[in-house]
Symmetry: C2
Subunit: 786 residues, 2 copies
């Protein structure tokens, strides 16, 4: 388990590029009759991706229903009561996902608020006593220890817990399983690490981690506990398949977003718009149920904590940054600053994406040097953050409290409060300390605060903005659980408020609203969501009249951002080498057929319906394919044929072949089995398991000469495409139906033609991989389609 | 164009049922080698549906990209500037859809408020002067005339404008085109008819019609004007296809909902959850833009009307039924009434669906008798409504104004107002008149009103509830544009408030909130939406703290309702005979293969790549198919074949064959054409048109002997399934990818095997049709699946 190059995957793919570009390819020469294998033109099927900070093998998921004899028999025999069990359990699990996510989110909030709160109180105490150095040492020391805790956990116990986790969840729902993402260790490290990192005052949020936590909970519940200590409850067997796990993880990620922003509708929409690839209305309805439970749990805790049982846990209802008391009236002139905010947000957002990409590449060079380097990097960022946050407020001048403002508590010395005294004399406050010496949540609340137009000096806001731009770029890539939402909100709010201050009396919109709109614009500029962001902001700010403004800002920012680069999540997916399948095919994919793709792949390996054990073992040892077409030769000819026909029986999975070898379900002679024979040996529950490797299986020499009847284990209804199908349409089919394998069949019908031309997987349909095998297609690359 | 039996479609299908049930079918006997055509076991492909009140032929839509040579050439040659034109136009059209929908919605609101307002003022005037009979005659007379206007327009000019239109839009987005749904006449009749019907005080809303209006606008914009007077603008040619029209209509329906409820996010979600079958994130983003424009237009008009330029048009910001001033605090005990509301809502909703179904069947018997009967039915309902609304308030006793309530205006005599004086002495008000003698919108606002716990007597509410139950059932089916939302909201609000009054002091929740929750529960119980309804209610009521309660109520009501019957829209779709393809296949569809389905269909008609004109004409005359597989025989054998092979070239559409015949693109000899030859004769713009009928084409006897090269017009990349594919999976593919035709190919590979087993269309995959051909499958019908 050594660390290796964080971006090895990208490097490997580049090599393939390099080879392929040496040859110009003549599109006409690519007919069916060429030799099948051309080493220097193979489609790369690279099963590597960066997981945590390691390169790991990743596996595709099977969302297709494997309709083999066993499944069909089970389907027919499934009693009404079992169906009810399944439906009941589905809803119970959705409820539990919501409940546990809600509880854990509250606990994280409680822990963060208390740890950070006591830390800040102590620091303020030192400052009041003018013991500035001691204050700094205490502040930086605490932050250092908290960061150390988070980083050590992440580096040594669960590298997959670092970062937000949202890209990996996105990939999972697209059909790519990243190993060790949803385990119990990851969950625990993520929870504790997130508490540590956020309490350490680093410029990161708990939103992304909460989405990951929700998904972990969902996955663990679905499989009945951690990998080694699963509950063997019979009911849970229904959920031991990729489809139901996917549904659960979708519910989990909705619940996570809901818990992060206390935005139930926004959570569902976030999962729908940003995370999930595949959706149906029943799932919408179930994830909505999960988020409803989360909201109820959160509310209950809030009620409880309002009675001061929760230490320093602040007040607050369901809404985080409430600006509902502002009444908004619209004027035509306000359109201009709104458009400006949107444009700047789009520009800054894409710039942020661009620079963050560079920083992450640089960090990968540091991280690959070893665990110690990763730790040092995290701790270095922590110290830098502490120095800036503690030191910079001394640069700001003290400002007198405005007695006209109703706010009675100016200056404040407590944990929260909008006018921090810091080093100022009584009756004055330090506006930079108000923003910096506080938790990130409170910072957002302060900068969103309305009716306080003279509170922040533009110089203060500029320092804050520049500082958080730097911190936002250097903090994200370190080895602790980190969310992207809050850093972006902080940056955006700062520049929005700056703009508001700069506008001065030319505008009637409150400065707090400018901050909200700025945050929204930067989110849209970087993450490129629209509807879900809009609803999240609606639920965060509790001001419906803000909606048209927010919409406009989001639309402009996303449009501007899209002109420059893809969304930040797509950049991270690309960087990690996760084979994400985009929603829309590239236009040039219409100019290539799947038959041509099959030509540049190694020839497809088929099995016979009744196959020799020795051959199966050989095939499993020498290939890495996970699915094999099953073909019967010389079958009883259908009416009208002159000679014996070949028949495409279907597709058999590697996992099922391994299971047969392991259970030694061998036949002495070459014969078809009866249905009861296979049902005696296997149940469909066995088939759902993913068995180990071929190397774990021992087959004796005698057994090698025996036979296996693959028919009952073969999925007789695989999705197929004609070889003349364009890659674009094949990709649409692949993604819409959620496939793992797609069999290419010939358009010719004649004796001697193989009934299988090839087999397509996710990697074969990725634009990048096709382009590396067919570089001439890139000429038409610039065009955009529907 | 006579009226015929409104439910002829259903009747025809029942006949097929009857025939099929005469024979028990042995599933084993159904092999590939049976005679292909069995008259008494054919899958019914009934292209009839009830449109308006007539039975019409309906056509399926082609959402698949037809990748033939012409398309591919055009795709390759399309310059960057044309792509930009297309993108620019797409957004411009989305903007225009929003703009026009917003403007028309405002105009409808203005007209309704003014017409109904002056009518009510005049009636109140009569009542104040104790001229009760004159008042009634004026009231009933005005209503009669307004209903007459709406009904005459609907009956004589655009029968498709009657009803809400939402089911037809749902079917359109699923792939079924109902004729005359989106024309200019329909649009105008819908607008005027909606104004008339709503102003006439009938128990119907303008919400459904607005959705239809939005879709009409979108469709008309996309095709450049009404059918006969289209703008021939070159840019618009990009939109002359079913895919782009579908996207536009989706935007239109979102805009319509948004305009109806002033709920931009709710509008998008409604289109997503309830209306659209097929969705992608780019479309989400575009329809969001449309709804944003609608909201801005509405706001602008509101601002303008606040200055009293709009006659009796009431005040009101973006939110219709504002209950935002109520602060909600949650207590565990409140869960019980909330659950009760949900359960009753679900029960009542499904009961409403059930009874409405019966009423609509009864109405169809009346409507089929002729146009006069339809008119009389509408006018009868109008008179009954007028009598009840005017007469019933006399039954209610006068109640003294509560001086403790801050409401200064009690009693009122104006158009709006919460405490109508009606026939009461000064200082008293008639609470039933407050609810009845007003527009429906105001009635909802009054019944939702908060902080007025003693306003309505429970006796009043009961009368109101019973009356609106009756009206809601008898009004929906009459021949005027009518929405379902408002009647259901009124019923639901009444029973919710009744429950609130009944609870008395046991609850701390405001009675207005009970009314809101009641309305939500009945909507969920009848329409079975969750997320979109929740967001619509959120945006209607402007109270985020209500959200968890609303969610819970919606979830319970939908669950309860689903136990009894499908949603009201599904019932109407079924009743109209529209072949809607459900999202999930029935479980028993896994037990039948598409090969078996093909066996009970008439044999598939294939064409050769180079075909005789005479044969094409014969095929087009004698079949009703809209697509034909193209097969080449004796082609150069691929490597390894022993004899000449047959090749499946693709699928050619009837429309394109007709075009060839019309343009007389015939060849003297049997030869392949060059690419330039076809490009000289046709452009891809021609191919997008749907040409007339075969009877309109005249081909001379000499021409009959000539040949056509079908290769350049053939879609070479049709979606295909193996004959062993289960119907369930085939249906998933069909719906997810949005197909019109799906070719079934054999699983056998041998000389002499036809490369096409059959062809599947939407009708073949509908559960009902399969069951009528394979009644034995019904045995396992009860089971539910994933």
């Amino acid at each position: 388990m050594e660390d290796s190059n964080q971006f090895a995957a990208a490097a490997v793919t580049n090599d393939v590029d390099g080879q392929a570009q040496n040859q110009e390819r003549d599109p006409e020469s690519n007919s069916l009759h060429q030799p099948l294998l051309k080493r220097n033109r193979t489609l790369s099927s690279n099963p590597l991706a960066v997981v945590g900070a390691k390169v790991s093998y990743i596996e595709s998921l099977d969302y297709e229903i494997n309709e083999n004899d066993l499944f069909k028999h089970d389907w027919r025999s499934r009693a009404q009561v079992q169906v009810l069990q399944y439906v009941f359990l589905k809803w119970t699990l959705a409820f539990l996902v919501g409940l546990l996510t809600g509880v854990i989110a509250t606990l994280i909030n409680l822990a963060v608020e208390n740890i950070a709160g006591y830390k800040l109180l102590k620091v303020i105490d030192y400052i009041n006593n003018k013991r500035y150095l001691m204050g700094f040492l205490f502040f930086a020391g605490t932050n250092f220890l908290l960061t150390l805790l988070a980083a050590v956990l992440c580096v040594f116990f669960a590298p997959t817990a670092a970062g937000p986790g949202i890209p990996e969840i996105k990939a999972y729902l697209n059909g790519v399983d990243t190993p060790n993402m949803y385990g119990a260790t990851t969950l625990i490290v993520k929870i504790i690490g997130s508490i540590g990192a956020v309490a350490a005052g680093l410029d990161l949020g708990k939103e992304g981690p909460l989405v990951h936590i929700g998904s972990c909970i969902a996955s663990l519940l679905g499989q009945g506990g951690p990998d080694n200590y699963r509950i063997k409850w019979r009911w849970l067997r229904y959920f031991n398949n990729d489809r139901d796990r996917r549904d659960l993880i979708t519910c989990g990620s909705s619940s996570g977003v809901c818990a992060a922003f206390r935005a139930p509708v926004g959570g569902v929409l976030f999962a729908l718009e940003e995370v999930a690839t595949w959706w149906r209305s029943a799932l919408l309805w179930r994830s909505f149920f999960s988020t409803a439970v989360v909201v109820v749990v959160l509310r209950a805790f809030m009620e409880y904590c309002n009675s001061r049982y929760c230490g320093l846990f602040g007040k607050g209802g369901l809404i985080m940054f409430d600006v509902s008391e502002v009444s908004v009236s619209y004027h035509i002139v306000d359109l201009i600053p709104i458009a400006v905010i949107g444009i700047i947000g789009g520009l800054l957002g894409s710039l942020y994406n661009h620079v963050l990409h560079k920083v992450l590449r640089l960090y990968s060079l540091i991280n690959e040097k070893g665990k110690l380097h990763k730790l040092l990097l995290s701790l270095g960022v922590s110290i830098f953050t502490s120095v800036c946050i503690y030191g910079l407020p001394f640069l700001a001048s003290c400002r007198p409290c405005d007695s006209s403002i109703q706010e009675t508590s100016c200056p404040t010395n407590g944990g929260t409060g909008n006018f921090k005294q810091f080093n100022c004399p009584n009756g004055q406050y330090n506006d930079l300390a108000t923003l910096l010496l506080t938790t990130n949540d409170d910072a957002v609340r302060n900068i969103f605060s309305t009716g306080t137009s003279s509170e922040f000096h533009i110089f203060t806001l500029t320092i804050f903005f520049v500082l958080y731009c730097i911190l936002g770029l250097i903090t994200f890539g370190i080895a602790v659980p980190s969310g992207l939402f809050l850093p972006i909100i902080l940056m955006g709010a700062a520049y929005g408020r700056m703009l508001g201050v700069a506008m001065g009396s030319y505008t009637k919109i409150d400065q707090g609203l400018y901050a909200v709109l700025g945050a929204a614009s930067l989110m849209a500029g970087s993450m490129r969501m629209t509807v879900s962001l809009c609803v999240i902001f609606l639920e965060l700010t509790n001001n419906l009249l803000l909606l048209p403004m927010t919409m406009l800002v989001l639309l402009i920012a996303k449009t501007v951002g899209d002109c420059f680069n893809p969304s930040i999540y797509e950049i991270i997916l690309e960087l990690k080498g996760l084979p994400f399948l985009d929603a829309n095919p590239e236009p040039w994919m219409r100019n290539i057929t799947v038959g041509e793709l099959a030509d540049v792949k190694p020839p497809v390996v088929t099995l016979h319906g009744i196959e020799k054990v020795g051959y199966i073992v050989e095939v499993l040892r020498n290939t890495t394919h996970n699915g094999f077409p099953v073909v019967d030769e010389g079958v009883m000819a259908p009416v009208g044929t002159q000679t014996g026909a070949t028949e495409l029986v279907g597709l058999v999975l590697r996992a099922h072949l391994l299971l047969v070898l392991k259970r030694k379900w061998f036949l002495q002679e070459r014969r078809r089995t009866e249905e009861w024979e296979v049902r005696e040996k296997f149940t469909w529950v066995d088939l759902a398991e993913r068995w180990g490797k071929i190397d774990d299986v021992t087959v004796t020499k005698d057994e090698m000469e025996m036979y296996v009847d693959l028919h009952p284990l073969t999925n007789t209804t695989p999705y197929t495409v004609l070889e003349s199908m364009s890659a674009a349409k094949a990709m649409v089919l692949f993604r819409q139906v959620g496939l793992r394998h797609m069999i290419i069949i010939p358009k010719y019908q004649a004796s001697g033609v193989s009934p299988v031309v090839g087999i397509l997987t996710r990697q074969d349909l990725r634009a990048h991989n096709i382009l590396s095998a067919f570089p001439h297609l890139a000429k038409s690359k610039g065009k955009k389609g529907h």
